[in-house]
């Protein structure tokens, strides 16, 4: 593909995104809650699009399409099990929102620290999020680098793509915090979904004879790609090991659970939930069918992650469509990167360098904002540094991200639904869980054939419950926290 076209497409994308970010700045008010949570005043439509853009990264059109290419229909099951995990938001979402507003929480881990009356929990959870999410962020940056370099036949260096991605993510996070992130997310999620649907329909109807013939051709392929285990990758244990950690994504990943604090009211939260479920369903279908299309049109690739770049660069996709697809995938990556940066910086400010006074005066607000902005730059630099090293370690940690973040899940359940849960239970489960996740991921050990995610969840839950039984719960706080939620839920018919 001519490099000039790629540059023009990237420049147009930068201009559109930056214009939206600057518009967001005009609407921005002062203060830390405004910066990190857009003043808890986001409408349902923007919240839905932003949630979708943050959740769905470049993994979908590249990694998931690659899984489908090599492993068949199991990839669809894996991603739809993940989507079904978003049903947890129907239970946790309104509770997060209610208690966040009442106690002025900015980060989900700050909430855990307060609920269990132990700031070390917020500290440990935040540190673990940094350890796992910065490499995840680096892999997204690398994705943009590889995509631009692959599509230009190597003329655009890998380094250039990484720089573009990191600069845009920093700019769009700094310009107006959560407001510029949610607004640019909205633009980017619309680009992601529209573009991916268009290229999919083009390829299916132009080259594969429509959907009926498409499924017929898939059924005729060697390796039974329409059943599991099919070609072999998705054995049951692999499927379980991949799907289980992702099922809890909506409460385990702080950049996603923090978004439960931002809707304006319950009506906005309803729209948000409806919106991202429908978005997720469509985007999953598109990514999987896209991977299958690549399998039919360009079989025999040794590296399945190249299925999407290769198909885009092939004669089957016209240049203009390949360009917009490239922008769609870049948008998916950048909308995830800037959200992670913003959330991690809120963890750094609120939980690692703890400074939680309920009523911040103006000076403290300014100090926290300054620290937040420095934190965003540092996190971005770390991510950038990891990305350009192209180390295997980074890929391993990034894969471990969904497993490592699982360690807060039992504490989240306990915070909302178990008055006898204790700080010692929560803290020890986070520490032992993180160590289990890191050890299993790095050693590659799979006891009884099960993956790290399965064991991490078992160890974390067992430690959390076991230690809680033998230690003293913060009874007053538990009563205040859960009692308040029970009263409000009753009042508002929250199930």
């Amino acid at each position: 593909m001519p490099t000039t076209y790629l540059y023009i497409a990237v420049i147009l994308y930068i201009i559109a995104g930056s214009a939206v970010a600057l518009m967001a700045r005009r609407e921005m008010n002062e203060g830390i809650v405004e910066y990190f949570l857009s003043g808890r005043n986001t409408g349902g439509f923007v919240a839905a699009l932003s949630y979708s853009a943050t959740t769905y990264s470049a993994f979908m059109m590249i990694g998931l399409a690659g899984f489908t290419y090599s492993g068949g229909v199991g990839a669809l099951g894996f991603e739809l099990v993940y989507l079904s995990g978003l049903s947890l938001v129907a239970f946790f979402g309104p509770r997060f929102w209610l208690i966040g507003k009442k106690n002025n929480y900015v980060s989900p881990y700050e909430m855990l620290g307060d609920r269990y009356q132990n700031q070390w929990i917020a500290f440990a959870a935040s540190l673990s999020a940094c350890v796992f999410l910065i490499p995840y962020l680096a892999v997204q940056l690398m994705g943009v680098g590889y995509l631009l370099s692959g599509l230009s036949g190597g003329e655009i260096p890998f380094f250039f793509g990484v720089v573009i991605a990191v600069v845009l993510a920093i700019a769009w996070a700094l310009i107006a915090g959560m407001k510029s992130v949610t607004w640019t997310d909205s633009l980017q999620s619309l680009i992601m979904i529209v573009v991916s649907i268009i290229i999919l329909f083009y390829v299916i109807y132009q080259h594969l004879g429509g959907f009926a013939e498409f499924f017929g051709s898939l059924a005729a392929l060697e390796g039974d790609v329409l059943s599991v285990p099919g070609p072999g990758f998705f054995s049951f244990k692999t499927f379980l090991g991949l799907s289980l950690p992702w099922f809890f994504f909506s409460i385990s990943n702080p950049q996603v659970s923090q978004r439960l604090f931002i809707p304006r009211d319950l009506k906005a939260m309803k729209t948000m939930i409806k919106g991202f479920l429908i978005f997720g369903f469509i985007y999953t279908m598109v990514s999987v069918i896209w991977g299958f299309s690549a399998r039919l049109l360009i079989p025999g690739l040794s590296n399945a992650d190249l299925a999407t770049p290769e198909l885009l660069a092939s004669e089957y996709v016209p240049t203009v469509l390949a360009l917009v697809a490239m922008i769609g995938i870049t948008a998916a990556a950048i909308s995830t990167i800037d959200s992670i940066m913003l959330t991690l910086s809120s963890l750094v400010v609120r939980d690692i360098f703890k400074n939680m006074e309920d009523n911040l005066d103006r000076d403290q607000n300014l100090r926290q904002l300054r620290t937040a902005k420095i934190a965003i730059l540092l996190i971005a630099l770390l991510g950038f540094f990891f990305a350009i090293q192209e180390l295997d370690l980074i890929a391993t940690l990034s894969v471990a991200a969904s497993v490592g973040l699982l360690v807060v899940v039992p504490s989240m359940f306990g915070a909302f639904f178990w008055k006898k849960a204790t700080a010692a239970g929560s803290l020890s489960s986070i520490i032992f869980g993180s160590l289990t996740a890191l050890y299993l991921q790095f050693s590659g050990w799979r006891p009884l054939g099960h993956w790290a995610g399965v064991w991490t969840l078992i160890v974390t839950a067992a430690v959390f419950v076991g230690v809680s039984f033998f230690t003293q719960a913060p009874a007053d706080k538990a009563e205040e926290f859960i009692g308040y939620l029970n009263r409000e839920c009753k009042e508002r018919n929250i199930i």
């Binding site: 229909v73 199991g74 669809l76 099951g77 739809l80 099990v81 989507l83 079904s84 978003l86 049903s87 938001v89 129907a90 239970f91 309104p94 499924f215 898939l218 059924a219 039974d224 790609v225 329409l226 059943s227 599991v228 285990p229 099919g230 049951f236 499927f239 379980l240 799907s243 099922f247 009211d265 319950l266 009506k267 939260m269 309803k270 939930i273 409806k274 479920l277 429908i278 369903f281 999953t284 279908m285 029970n486 839920c489 009753k490 009042e491 508002r492 018919n493 929250i494 199930i495």
Partner: protein
């Protein structure tokens, strides 16, 4: 709504969603392993996701703003 009724509804939805999620692991790996067609695992997982989405949205329809 009364607490008891809320609790009952919570259990009903939790059980329904849990059964669906268990089926997403169990059915394609047992009943559908030999059906290498659109009507096999592909359709099953699509319907499973649609059902969970429906239930999730249904839960939100009970909510009332104060």
């Amino acid at each position: 709504m009364e607490n008891d009724k809320l609790k009952k509804l919570r259990y009903i939805y939790l059980i329904l969603i849990s059964l669906l999620v268990i089926s997403a692991f169990a059915v394609p790996y047992t009943l559908l392993t030999s059906i290498n067609l659109f009507y096999g695992a592909f359709l099953f997982w699509s319907l499973f996701a649609a059902a969970v989405i429906f239930l999730t949205i249904k839960i939100t329809t009970y909510w009332r703003n104060n």
